[in-house]
Subunit: 163 residues, 2 copies
């Protein structure tokens, strides 16, 4: 009975969820992410941990787009990405593209809990396929205050090709 | 002679600078920061560590503005603030107000190095006076990719009235 009320009340069962990291992802007007990474190294001494490139970017194009580069700065990880280019809406407002990547082992439960609290799911939970900042699966939420959150499983601790 | 060349060359002597933290600061359309904090607690289980209120907000106004609240989420600190209200330009684009707070013991050197690398200083380095997210002094930079950085001394580890 109690469980049924919970299920009926929020449209989804609310589980406890724990998170392992929040990483600010700076989405730069394409194709300037590489320049931005160089700038953060020069300006703040950021250290590049990994960089993954867009697999669909044509080889003959001059600059491969950066899906996600992981920089270490002040003991904190920040992510730098090129905004969508020909495959999506361009990032128009420079500096407006700040996404919060929130890592958890249970993406589905985390998305359900946030949606029950008032967030809006903007995409089905999907395998990241190297196309997101994170390992495994990823869900995308817009919160009631206009901020975008990527809820994702932690990034694999591998080499330079994934973040 | 060498020192003079450095001073003439970059406009400032470049020192090594180290940083202790990056904290994303979400600037919410005033006066919704309190609601946003409640939402992040409900949606993500964020824990409120501290909250500082705007000292100039009139007592008869219904909701005191939040200068900065510090939330712990996934082992990471995020800051939530009300955007400028009557004293400054309003925060128009919800979700666009993401500022990166970058902590260092040497704000002056950090600002000089970043400006030499291409950032633009948007305000004189000033005492934070409780009016920023950080303890001590704070400098404000816009980077060439449109992101705003507050360079500041680490927040004092005191109670609820400062962050």
């Amino acid at each position: 009975m109690a469980q049924q009320e919970v299920q009926n009340g929020g449209g989804a069962e609310i589980k406890e969820v724990s998170f392992t990291a929040v990483k600010p992802q700076l989405v730069v007007e394409a194709p300037k992410a590489g320049d931005a990474i160089s700038f953060y190294k020069a300006a703040f001494g950021a250290e590049e941990v990994s960089r993954s490139l867009h697999p669909k970017r044509k080889a003959d194009q001059e600059v491969p787009l950066i899906l996600s580069a992981q920089l270490l700065l002040g003991g904190t990880t920040i992510l730098i990405s090129d905004g969508p280019d020909d495959s999506g809406a361009p990032v128009k407002a420079a500096g407006a593209g700040c996404v919060l990547c929130l890592e958890t082992d249970d993406v589905e439960a985390a998305v359900a809990k946030a949606v029950a609290a008032g967030a809006v799911s903007e995409a089905e939970i999907a395998d990241s396929d190297g196309s997101a900042c994170c390992g495994g699966s990823v869900g995308k939420l817009k919160d009631p205050y206009g901020f975008t959150w990527n809820i994702c499983t932690p990034a694999a601790a591998t080499g330079a090709e994934t973040c």
